[in-house]
């Protein structure tokens, strides 16, 4: 696909009102499905540990309860502390809108490419860390500094993955990448294999899952994400947790839709959307199961092992880039 072709398509996408409507519905679906996906992972994990586990609706009930509770803010908190939950949630949601969920060509995915996605996530993370430090408790600052340590090394690896994929598709736009993958069908690309491995490692680090951070505990010495949101309560806490679930969902959708886009709708017809929805549910279900298995098999690593882990992610991404150049180009 050449650049002019996508350019024309992008212009057509802007003015399509149905497209905007579907994009809004897709954003809403992200917001609704994110707690469900988190609950799915939790449930499989509970099953693997011979527990029954909470119902799939449990995160929703938790969020509703938190929304109804009184919101308490510390005396020392500045306006940043109050604004941060909305910015974090909003930034994560905007980032999620960039990742195609059911349909390939949408105005939201056409105006923003994957580098914007990384930017939105960085914005959300920046305010999360600010909020962690704002109240001035020891745990908040510690959590913020750890989060920044992890993200400072995860982001280069993520960008290398992005470049690997972009070099194959000749575009940093996620829609174009997915369309290319849909058109070419099953092609074994060494670069994509490395990109998948790198993205999985980065996603686990960025969403604070088990080898890096444990979302289920508030253990003082090891917590990262929980340490930053320790001072929050009520609807602020609900938004922060919702944003974390949204981020997990975002990375999961990024993995399954960019590298395994089979079944995604390329038009806005109801039938295509339905097939796409079913395919997405199956793919996310499998990925959630794999994540639960990983979290059961591995133990949390020491904080100072994390640089080595992310170094591996960077190595994967770099090898992906190199194997694209060495193996996939040429006359």
């Amino acid at each position: 696909m050449d650049a002019r072709d996508t350019g024309g398509a992008v212009m057509a996408d802007y003015v399509n009102p149905v497209g905007w409507l579907v994009a809004a519905a897709q954003g809403l679906l992200y917001v609704i499905a994110a707690p469900l996906f988190a609950a799915w992972v939790k449930r499989i994990k509970a099953r693997l540990q011979n527990r029954r586990g909470a119902a799939l609706m449990q995160p929703w009930l938790d969020l509703r309860k938190l929304m109804q509770k009184e919101t308490i803010v510390a005396h020392t908190a500045s306006p940043v502390f109050r604004a941060a939950p909305y910015i974090v949630f909003g930034g994560t949601l905007l980032a999620a809108m960039v990742v195609p969920l059911l349909v390939v060509k949408l105005p939201t995915t056409a105006i923003a490419d994957v580098i914007v996605l990384v930017g939105f996530l960085a914005l959300a993370r920046f305010f999360l860390a600010l909020a962690g430090m704002d109240v001035g408790t020891a745990f908040g600052g510690m959590g913020a500094s750890r989060e920044m340590l992890i993200s400072a090394m995860a982001e280069p690896a993520l960008l290398m993955v992005v470049f690997t994929v972009a070099m194959t598709a000749h575009s940093t736009n996620l829609s174009s990448v997915i369309e290319l993958n849909l058109q070419t069908g099953l092609v074994l690309r060494p670069s994509f294999m490395f990109a998948i491995l790198g993205l999985i490692l980065v996603a686990i680090a960025e969403t604070g899952r088990i080898p890096i951070d444990n979302p289920a505990t508030h253990l003082e010495l090891t917590m990262v994400h929980e340490a930053m949101i320790l001072e929050y309560s009520g609807r602020h806490l609900a938004l922060m947790e919702w944003a974390a679930q949204l981020k997990l969902m975002l990375y999961a959708v990024l993995l399954v839709n960019v590298f395994f886009p089979w079944g995604m709708a390329q038009s806005l017809s109801p039938m295509a959307l339905l097939i796409s929805f079913v395919a997405l549910c199956v793919k996310l279900g499998i990925l959630g199961g794999l994540l639960a298995i990983v979290e059961t098999v591995f133990t949390k690593m020491r904080l100072f092992r994390v640089p080595l882990y992310l170094n591996l992610a960077f190595l994967f991404a770099t090898l992906g880039l190199l194997s694209h150049v060495i193996l996939e180009t040429g006359p």
Partner: protein
């Protein structure tokens, strides 16, 4: 995109070649001795798989023999010998702390880029579908050499040496439809004999110096003793 013109088996060869490169990196970065032996065994198995696929794609049945030979020797035989030696010397839990892991891997990446650059003229000459793999095999050779430079553990250095031979074998299979069977048999048994000889050396070094750290060998010289 030229990858699209290839059959699924040829794409599989590329994926396996990339995995062989990854195994070389693992060999350099593995802190645990046993895990390093395992990654060497995986590299041998991957090379056997590549040979098998090339035999199918290029219709060269004699490569099947070398595929089986590679699998038996490099994926099972030599790792087993090394494993046996490690157990005999009680080094199962031996670990070697890398001085600068990130820098070591970055140098490795640089070697891959260098070998790509060095191989570019050769790639222009040949027209086989698998010619791109020559760069990978040169990189595996250089990474084996780098493994011998960067690591102090004698056994890991031997693994690096053997993986250099893996790289040469990969180049032969990918670019020239394999070496003549006589040569391959000769090389295979050379490697096997080398593994056994290395094993005797390990035991001797261990007995005389009570360590397998190659850096400590410098202390044999008279200057260091004083």
């Amino acid at each position: 995109m030229n990858l699209l013109h290839l059959s699924l088996a040829e794409q599989g060869i590329f994926v396996l070649a990339a995995l062989i490169l990854l195994a070389s990196f693992f060999l350099i970065a593995q802190v645990r001795l046993v895990a390093a032996i395992h990654s060497f065994a995986w590299q041998g198995a991957l090379i056997a798989a590549v040979t098998f696929l090339v035999a199918g794609v290029q219709n060269t049945p004699h490569l099947l023999v070398s595929a089986v030979l590679t699998l038996l020797l490099k994926a099972i035989g030599i790792p087993w010998i090394l494993h046996f030696l490690v157990r005999k010397m009680g080094l199962e839990r031996e670990m070697e702390r890398l001085q600068r892991p990130a820098l070591t891997l970055l140098v490795g990446t640089g070697l891959v880029i260098f070998s790509y650059w060095a191989v570019l003229p050769i790639e222009r000459l040949e027209f086989g579908a698998t010619r791109n793999i020559i760069a990978i095999s040169l990189a595996v050779v250089l990474l084996g050499l780098w493994c011998m430079v960067a690591r102090h553990q004698v056994i890991v250095q031997v693994l690096g040496f053997m993986s250099m031979e893996n790289g040469l074998f990969l180049a032969a299979v990918a670019s020239t439809k394999g070496m003549p069977l006589v040569v391959e048999l000769g090389v295979a048994f050379d490697v096997l004999v080398a593994a056994i000889l290395f094993g005797i050396f390990f035991l001797q070094i261990r007995e005389n110096l009570t360590t397998l750290d190659a850096d400590r060998l410098n202390r044999l010289s008279e200057k260091e003793e004083r």
